[in-house]
C-alpha cells in the first residue's frame, strides 16, 4: 500500500514539476517586468514558446556532431531525475530513499557537463567561452553546496533530503544560526547555478556578458525547447530544494491521505510564489556583476558555508 501511494505521489510530483517549471520562469519574468513598470509577457508565455519550438525544424551547424543532438536529452533527463528527487507537497515518495543531496549535485553536474559539451561542439568562440566560464563557476559553487549538505548532515544525521525535511519539520532542532549561514550559501549557489542576476543575466542576448545562453546559441527547434525546459526545471528544483530545507512546514507526511496532499500542494504553491517574488525583487534591485567578480561572490558563499559548519562544531562542542 505504501509503495502504491509512494508511486502515485511520485508521479503526481513529477507531473507537478513538469507543469510548474515553465510557469515559474514565466512568473518571475512577469513579476520582474511589473516591478520595472512594464506590462511583461503572460506567465504562460514560456509554455507557449515551448510548444511552438517543438513544432519547428531544428537547424544544426554543418559540423555539429552527435553531441549537439544527444546533449539536450541528457540534460533534460538529469534535470527531471533531480527534480523528481526533491520533495514538493509530500514526503515519502517512492524515490525518497535515493533523494541524496550529493546525488542531486551530481545530476546537476551531469546536466552542466552535457550543456558545456554542446556549447563546444560546433567550435564557436561564444560557446567555448560560455562553457569554460560555466565550469569555472561551478568549481566554486559545488563546494558551497557540499558544505551546506555537511551542515544538514550534522543536524539531521544524513544527507538524504527527505529525511532532512522530516527532521526540520518536527522543529525539535529550533532556530540554528548555522542553518542561516547554510541558507545564505545555498541561495548564492542557487543564483549562480540558475544563471540569474548578479552572476548571469537570463534575459541577455549581449554575447560578451553571457554564460548560460552562450552555450545554447547554436540550438534551435526542439533542442532549444529542451534546453529552455531544463533551465526552467533547474530553477524550479532549486526553489523546491530551498523550500524543502528551510520552509518545510505544511508538507504532507509519508503515508498521509489525499487531503493532506492537497493541503501540501496549496502550501507548496504559496511557498514557490513567495520565493519567485523574492527572486524577482532581488534581481530587480541588484546589478549584474563583472564576470571576474563572480568568484568573489561564490567564494563568499563557500566561506559562509564553512562558517556555518564551524559555528555548529563550536556550539555543539561547548554544550
Amino acid at each position: 500500500m505504501s509503495f502504491v501511494t509512494g508511486l502515485l505521489t511520485q508521479l503526481l510530483h513529477l507531473a507537478l514539476m513538469l507543469a510548474l517549471a515553465p510557469v515559474l520562469t514565466g512568473s518571475v519574468r512577469w513579476l520582474k517586468a511589473r516591478l520595472m513598470g512594464r506590462r511583461g509577457p503572460h506567465p504562460m508565455q514560456p509554455w507557449r514558446d515551448f510548444l511552438k519550438l517543438l513544432k519547428k525544424r531544428p537547424v544544426l551547424a554543418e559540423n555539429a556532431s552527435i553531441i549537439s543532438r544527444a546533449a539536450p536529452y541528457v540534460a533534460v533527463a538529469s534535470a527531471l531525475l533531480a527534480a523528481a528527487l526533491v520533495p514538493s507537497f509530500t514526503r515519502g515518495m517512492v524515490l525518497a530513499p535515493f533523494a541524496d543531496l550529493l546525488l542531486i549535485a551530481g545530476l546537476l553536474a551531469l546536466g552542466r557537463f552535457a550543456m558545456a559539451l554542446a556549447g563546444m561542439d560546433v567550435g564557436t568562440a561564444f560557446g567555448g567561452i560560455g562553457a569554460t566560464r560555466e565550469m569555472a563557476f561551478a568549481a566554486l559553487a559545488e563546494p558551497a553546496l557540499v558544505l551546506a549538505a555537511l551542515i544538514f548532515a550534522i543536524l539531521a544525521g544524513t544527507t538524504n533530503l527527505d529525511v532532512i525535511t522530516g527532521i526540520f519539520q518536527e522543529g525539535t532542532l529550533g532556530l540554528r544560526v548555522s542553518l542561516g549561514f547554510a541558507a545564505l550559501a545555498l541561495l548564492a549557489v542557487a543564483v549562480a547555478e540558475n544563471a540569474r542576476i548578479p552572476v548571469d543575466n537570463p534575459a541577455t542576448h549581449l554575447e560578451l556578458t553571457m554564460v548560460h545562453e552562450a552555450m545554447i546559441l547554436e540550438a534551435s527547434g526542439r533542442h532549444l525547447a529542451l534546453w529552455e525546459f531544463q533551465a526552467s526545471l533547474r530553477l524550479t528544483l532549486w526553489l523546491a530544494l530551498l523550500a524543502a530545507a528551510f520552509l518545510p512546514f505544511g508538507m504532507a507526511a509519508p503515508g498521509a491521505g489525499p487531503l493532506a496532499w492537497v493541503m501540501g500542494l496549496c502550501v507548496f504553491i504559496v511557498k514557490m510564489a513567495a520565493l519567485a517574488f523574492a527572486l524577482a525583487v532581488f534581481e530587480s534591485t541588484i546589478a549584474k556583476m563583472r564576470v571576474f567578480r563572480v568568484p568573489e561572490f561564490l567564494g563568499a558563499a563557500l566561506l559562509l558555508g564553512l562558517l556555518g559548519a564551524l559555528y555548529l562544531f563550536v556550539s555543539t562542542g561547548l554544550s
Partner: protein, 673 residues
C-alpha cells in the same frame, strides 16, 4: 594459486630475456605483448581468486644471504593485483594493436620487467622482496620514459624521474630497515607485525614511507616528476604508470601504515595523510585545468586522483584512531574503490590520448579539435572515461567520490574540535578538486574531440581498428559496469577493508545494490539512477520524435559571424577557443595564488598592424624550487667540499681525529640511552 602467480612472474622474466631476439621481427614483438597481456590476465584472475579465498604465503627457495624471499597473497595485495592485471591487459593489447614492425629492444625489454616489478611489489611478504620489486618497477619504467632520448625534454624528464626514484628508493630501504629493527634479520611481514614500532621510530617510518611511496604515487610536494615523466613514455606505458604504478605505490603506503606499523596509530597520522592528499588533489586538478598537452593534463589528473585516494586512506586512519570502525570501512572502501575506478578510466584516457597521438600526430590541444568526426569510436569511448573522471553519475568516478564525500561529511564524529574544523575544510576542498577535475575533463574533451580541427593533420586523422579498439573498449566497459555495481565491489573488497580497518562491523550495510553509509544514512543506488535516466531521456526522446520534423543542416550561426572563405574549409581555427583561453577563468581565479600564473597582453604600438599577443603561463612552485635554489645549494656545498683538498697534512689529521672523537661521543651517548 600463489605458486601459479610466482611461476607467471618467472615467465615475465623469461619474456624479457627473450625480448632482444624477438624485437627483430614484428611477429616477435607481437608475441611479447601478447604474452604480457596473457600474464596480466593471470594476475587479474589470481587477484580475484585471492579476494575470495584465504591468505596464502610462500617462501621461495632462494633469496638474499640473510634469509629467503617470501611471497604472500592476502586480500589487500589481491585487490591491487586485480587493478594491475586489468590495466596490464588493456595496455598490452593496445601495444599489440600498434605493432608496425621490428621495435627497438630498449622499448621492448623493460616492458615485461615493469609488469613483473609491480606484481612482485604487490606479492612481496618481506621487506627485501618488496624493495626489490619496487626498484625493478622504478628502473624498468625509467628506461621506458627515456625511450625517445633524442629529445632534450625527454632526457630531462628521465633525469628528474631518476632523481626522485633514487630518493624514494633510499627512503623505502631505510623505512623497511627501521621496521625490521625490532625483528630478527630476514623476517617476513608476519614477524614485523608482531613488533610494531612506537615513538620516534614510528614517526620516522611514517616520514620515510611518505617520501618513498609518496614520491612514486605523486603526492605533493614530491609530484613534480610525474607530469614530466608519464607523458614522455609510450602511451601504453603512460597508461600503466598512471593507472597501475601509482596504485602500487599507494599499496606500499597502505601496507606499511595500516598493516606493518601496528593496529593503531594516533589521530595526527591520518591528518597528515589527509593534508597531503588534499594538497595533491587541488594541485593536480588545477594543473590539469591549465596544462596544454593532452598527456600532461592526464598525468596531472592522476595526481588529483592519487590525492583523493590518499585522502580516503588518511580519513580511514583517523576513524580507526577514533575507534569508529564502520566509518573507517567507508573511508577505506572509498579509497580502494577509487583506486580501481581511477585505474580503469585513466587507462582508457591515456590509451585514447595515445590513439589521438597516432591518428592526429599531436599531443598539443592547440593542434587538435573536431576529432569526433574522424575518430568516432575513440571519441565515444574517451567520452565515457572523461565523464567518469569528471565524477558524473552513474559512471564509476561518481560512485567512489560519492562514498569519499560521505565519509568526509561524517568526519565530525571524530570528537576532536580541531579535526572537525579541518575535516569541514577538507570536505569543501575535496569538492573543489572534484569540480576542478570536471572543468579539466571538459576542457580536454572539448579541445581534442569537439569544435573544428585546428591543424590539417587533425582534419585528416584516422580511426583506430582491430585489437587497439578492443583495448579501449575493455576499460570503457569496465568504467560503466564498475559504476553500476559499487556495492558488489565493496562486498568483494570486504576482506581487504577488514584488513585495513580491523573492523568487521558496518561492512554488511555498505554493500548491495544500494550503497549505504550507515544505518539510516544516505544511500546511492547507481542501477536505479541509470535506469531512471535511460527511461526519462528515452521517454522524452520518443515523445518528441513522434511529432517533430527532421533535422536541417546549415552554416553555424555564431551570432552572425560570416561563413569562412573557400580556402579555409573549417574556417579560421583561431576563431574558436584555445587551450590557454579555456584555462583563463581558473587561471585568474585560483592559478595566480597557487601556481604563480601570469598573463600579459603584448599590444603593438599604434599604427603597427602586428597582432596583439596574449602571454600566459604558470609555474609549479616545487619545480621552480628543484630547478633553482636546490642546484645552487648543491653547487655551494660542492664548492665548500672542494676546499678540503687544499687542507694541509696537519689539518687533515686534525679532521680525522675530530671525526673519531665525535663518533666515540655518539657511541657513549647511545650506550647510555
Amino acid at each position: 594459486m600463489l605458486i601459479a602467480l610466482a611461476l607467471t612472474l618467472g615467465s615475465l622474466a623469461l619474456l624479457s630475456l627473450a625480448a632482444p631476439l624477438l624485437a627483430r621481427a614484428a611477429l616477435g614483438v607481437r608475441l611479447v605483448y601478447a604474452g604480457a597481456a596473457l600474464v596480466s590476465l593471470v594476475f587479474a584472475a589470481g587477484g580475484f581468486a585471492g579476494l575470495l579465498s584465504a591468505p596464502e604465503t610462500l617462501a621461495l627457495p632462494f633469496g638474499p644471504p640473510w634469509g629467503v624471499m617470501r611471497l604472500a597473497l592476502d586480500p589487500l595485495s589481491a585487490w591491487f593485483l586485480v587493478i594491475l592485471g586489468l590495466c596490464g591487459v588493456a595496455a598490452s593489447a593496445f601495444a599489440f594493436g600498434h605493432v608496425k614492425g621490428p621495435e627497438a629492444a630498449r622499448r621492448l625489454v623493460p616492458y615485461p620487467l615493469f609488469l613483473a616489478g609491480m606484481a612482485l611489489t604487490l606479492l612481496a611478504a618481506d621487506g627485501f622482496t618488496l624493495v626489490l620489486g619496487f626498484e625493478l618497477m622504478s628502473f624498468a619504467s625509467w628506461v621506458l620514459v627515456a625511450h625517445e632520448h633524442e629529445h632534450a625534454e625527454n632526457r630531462r624528464a628521465a633525469r628528474v624521474y631518476l632523481g626522485f626514484a633514487a630518493l624514494g628508493g633510499a627512503a623505502l630501504i631505510l623505512c623497511f630497515g627501521l621496521l625490521a629493527a625490532g625483528a630478527s634479520a630476514g623476517a617476513g611481514f608476519a614477524a614485523l607485525r608482531a613488533t610494531p614500532p612506537d615513538g620516534l621510530r614510528a614517526l620516522a617510518i611514517l616520514v620515510l614511507v611518505l617520501i618513498g611511496a609518496g614520491s612514486k604515487a605523486g603526492l605533493v610536494p614530491l609530484h613534480v616528476w610525474l607530469p614530466l615523466a608519464h607523458p614522455a613514455a609510450p602511451s601504453h606505458v603512460s597508461a600503466l604508470m598512471s593507472a597501475a604504478m601509482t596504485k602500487v605505490a599507494l599499496y606500499v603506503l597502505a601496507r606499511v601504515i595500516f598493516d606493518l606499523a601496528g593496529p593503531a596509530q594516533p589521530l595526527f597520522w591520518g591528518a597528515v595523510l589527509m593534508a597531503l592528499g588534499l594538497a595533491s588533489a587541488i594541485m593536480g586538478a588545477l594543473r590539469a585545468a591549465l596544462e596544454e598537452d593532452t598527456k600532461t593534463l592526464l598525468a596531472c589528473s592522476t595526481i588529483e586522483n592519487v590525492g583523493l585516494i590518499t585522502l580516503g586512506l588518511g580519513l580511514a586512519l583517523a576513524f580507526r584512531a577514533a575507534d569508529l570502525g564502520a566509518l573507517a570501512a567507508v573511508a577505506a572502501g572509498a579509497a580502494l574503490l577509487h583506486a580501481l575506478n581511477h585505474a580503469m578510466f585513466k587507462t582508457l584516457l591515456f590509451l585514447g590520448a595515445g590513439e589521438v597521438l597516432h591518428g592526429a600526430a599531436s599531443r598539443r590541444m592547440d593542434r587538435l579539435g573536431g576529432l569526433i568526426h574522424a575518430m568516432p569510436w575513440t571519441a565515444g569511448l574517451v567520452l565515457l572515461g572523461a565523464a567518469a573522471a569528471a565524477a558524473l553519475p552513474p559512471l564509476s568516478g561518481f560512485a567512489s567520490e560519492w562514498l569519499l564525500l560521505q565519509a568526509l561529511i561524517a568526519a565530525w564524529r571524530v570528537g576532536d574540535l580541531a579535526f572537525q574544523i579541518g575535516a569541514a575544510a577538507a570536505t569543501a576542498l575535496a569538492a573543489l578538486a572534484v569540480a576542478l577535475a570536471a572543468a579539466a575533463m571538459l576542457r580536454f574533451y572539448g579541445m581534442v574531440f569537439l569544435g573544428r580541427p585546428r591543424s590539417p593533420r587533425a582534419a585528416g586523422a584516422t580511426e583506430l581498428s582491430g585489437v587497439a579498439r578492443a583495448a579501449l573498449i575493455m576499460p570503457a566497459a569496465l568504467t560503466v559496469i564498475f559504476g553500476l555495481i559499487p556495492g558488489h565491489l565493496l562486498e568483494l573488497a570486504a576482506p581487504a577493508l577488514r584488513l585495513l580497518t580491523g573492523a568487521g562491523a558496518g561492512l554488511s550495510a555498505l554493500g548491495g545494490v544500494t550503497v549505504t553509509v550507515a544505518e539510516g544514512g544516505a544511500g546511492y543506488a547507481p542501477l536505479v539512477v541509470f535506469v531512471l535516466l535511460l527511461l526519462l531521456g528515452g521517454g522524452v526522446g520518443l515523445l518528441l520524435r513522434r511529432q517533430a520534423p527532421g533535422i536541417a543542416r546549415g552554416p553555424a550561426w555564431d551570432c552572425g559571424f560570416i561563413a569562412p572563405p573557400h580556402h579555409l574549409p573549417f574556417g579560421d581555427p583561431a576563431t574558436q577557443v584555445s587551450a590557454a583561453g579555456m584555462a583563463q577563468p581558473l587561471r585568474r581565479m585560483l592559478g595566480k595564488t597557487l601556481l604563480a600564473a601570469r598573463e600579459k597582453v603584448e599590444m603593438p604600438p599604434p599604427g603597427n598592424t602586428a597582432p596583439a599577443r596574449l602571454q600566459a603561463g604558470f609555474h609549479d612552485p616545487v619545480l621552480a624550487l628543484i630547478s633553482g635554489p636546490l642546484p645552487r645549494a648543491r653547487d655551494r656545498l660542492a664548492a665548500l667540499a672542494e676546499r678540503l683538498r687544499d687542507f694541509s697534512l696537519r689539518q687533515c689529521l686534525a679532521l680525522g681525529f675530530a671525526v673519531l672523537l665525535a663518533l666515540m661521543a655518539l657511541l657513549i651517548w647511545l650506550e647510555r640511552t
